[in-house]
């Protein structure tokens, strides 16, 4: 049974789900205590993006820009975020029986990986992964080296190349609103109900439940469950994700793992090499007894 966005699943079910999470409708009593609990339990917050529900209205992009003091974005679909637009809606033409309208809308933004490449790459800890979930950027620490851009497998951090005091721009999961107990702006603003905010473990359960109960509506894969070691933003879709422009060659372990061996080699080298060199220097040292130990006339 195919599902057209906005219909299908009744609003009751969704409200029931949200109630089960302990929330009421779209207004969420997300207390700092709840955040701290998420932190302590290693179960960060995240967002489930159900692309089968997204209608492509792009309200999320507008409220995001408004909330971050950025100019109102052009009302078009885009493939990639920019240094002026932290989230985009990518409209993709897909010819698949499971897609009624022939188009799938994918909201793209930083995925807030569980072990982000950018945070591990940042030598000043300007890119920082909070235990509660968000990966944020600190302008007081950033040197603008752009190593985070080199390392991110999703190419999410964007640099303001035409500014004398450039920022790195990407989605910050509205960390400021989370701290005040409010939902991220895009989640709050989504009228189609495509975005669900919650604890990652709960979101995964919900995603699996949707796949199991509506087998024909969903492709049996949750993007972000293990890609790049797991991300906080999870995606469900009706078709395989490589058809939707998601990168197909991602590692299934976190990207910082790729530098682990090298960085652990550093203390080893610093331990082994100096004694080795000292030994060689001593062994090849050629002494002379002073030449002036001779007789003189």
């Amino acid at each position: 049974m195919t599902t057209a966005p906005g219909q299908g699943r009744s609003a009751c079910d969704r409200r029931g789900f949200l109630r089960a999470l302990g929330v009421c409708g779209a207004g969420l009593a997300l207390s700092p205590a709840a955040l701290a609990q998420a932190q302590a339990e290693g179960n960060p917050y995240g967002v489930l993006v159900d692309t089968t529900q997204c209608v492509g209205c792009r309200t999320c992009t507008r409220v995001c820009a408004e909330g971050h003091g950025l100019p109102v974005p052009e009302d078009v679909c885009r493939e990639r975020t920019t240094e002026r637009q932290l989230t985009v809606v990518d409209g993709r033409a897909v010819a698949d029986p499971r897609v009624d309208t022939g188009a799938v809308f994918v909201k793209r933004q930083c995925l807030h990986c569980l072990q982000p490449a950018c945070a591990s790459a940042c030598l000043t800890r300007a890119m920082y992964k909070h235990d509660a979930g968000p990966v944020t950027w600190d302008k007081g620490k950033c040197m603008g080296c752009r190593y985070c851009m080199v390392s991110c497998p999703f190419d999410m951090p964007k640099f303001e190349y035409h500014s004398a005091a450039p920022h790195i721009r990407k989605c910050d999961l509205c960390a400021d609103r989370l701290a005040a107990g409010e939902l991220p702006r895009c989640v709050a603003g989504c009228e189609a109900g495509a975005l669900t905010f919650g604890r990652r473990a709960d979101l995964l359960l919900e995603a699996r439940k949707r796949i199991a109960t509506e087998k024909d509506a969903y492709h049996a894969h949750i993007f972000g469950e293990r890609e790049a070691g797991g991300t906080s933003w999870l995606y469900l879709a009706a078709v395989p994700f490589d058809k939707l422009g998601f990168p197909g060659d991602l590692e299934y372990v976190s990207y910082p793992n790729l530098t682990k061996e090298f960085l652990y080699g550093v203390p080893v080298v610093l331990t082994l090499v100096p004694p080795l060199l000292l030994g060689i220097a001593k062994a090849t040292h050629r002494d002379t007894l002073p030449a002036t130990g001779g007789r003189r006339a």
């Binding site: 492709h219 049996a220 395989p240 050629r286 002379t288 007894l289 030449a291 002036t292 001779g294 006339a297």
Partner: protein, 231 residues
Amino acid sequence: MYDPLPVDPFMTKAAEYLLVIGFLATLLLGWPSLARRPAPVATPLPAGKGGTTPSGWFATALERFYHLGHAWARPTADGLVEIGLDDFAQKLIGKPDTIALPQAGAQLAQGRPLASLRVGGKAVDLPAPVDGVVVHRNDALHDRPGLVNGDPYGAGWLVRVRPTRWSANAEDLLQSDEAQRWMAASELSLQRRMSPSFGMLLQDGGVPVSGIARALAGEDWDRLANEFLRG
């Protein structure tokens, strides 16, 4: 549809082992030619001042290995190496008042000071041409230090040593043709410091008893000599 199966991490292992064996075999076969000392070739001489050519002021002797510090080394029949200073050095320094030589048992290192020649309170160091342990030293020089001027390649030898790194040292020593070219080049570089009249005198065969260095540099002669004998 499904998550990709894990990739076998050892798929290419056999081929890699074969490659490494090939590398080690190539290394083993190629090492002897890499480690061998290459044959000397003609090195072009640096140009002299005003286009002059070297006139053979300084003589080299056959069967000797020359160090750039102007000491020579001659392997002897009994496995030792005889060391002395060459014609250039003795003419540069002139007649020494005393020569300080190392005691038997002293260790020498190539390039480090071997002997010290003293003239009137100033000393010039001669660098050793090889690594080794001193076995004999030329006691005749104690009474007649002028032997190094009269017969620098024969009776004026300085010490005999047991060499410890002969092959490695020999790579840095000059022989026969190359040594002659180098001696000629040394002559040219000395010429650059001289006035023309002095040069002509030397050409005639006359050499100042006090040494070329003193004639050139007066009181600072030891600094000049040390500069040339530094190798």
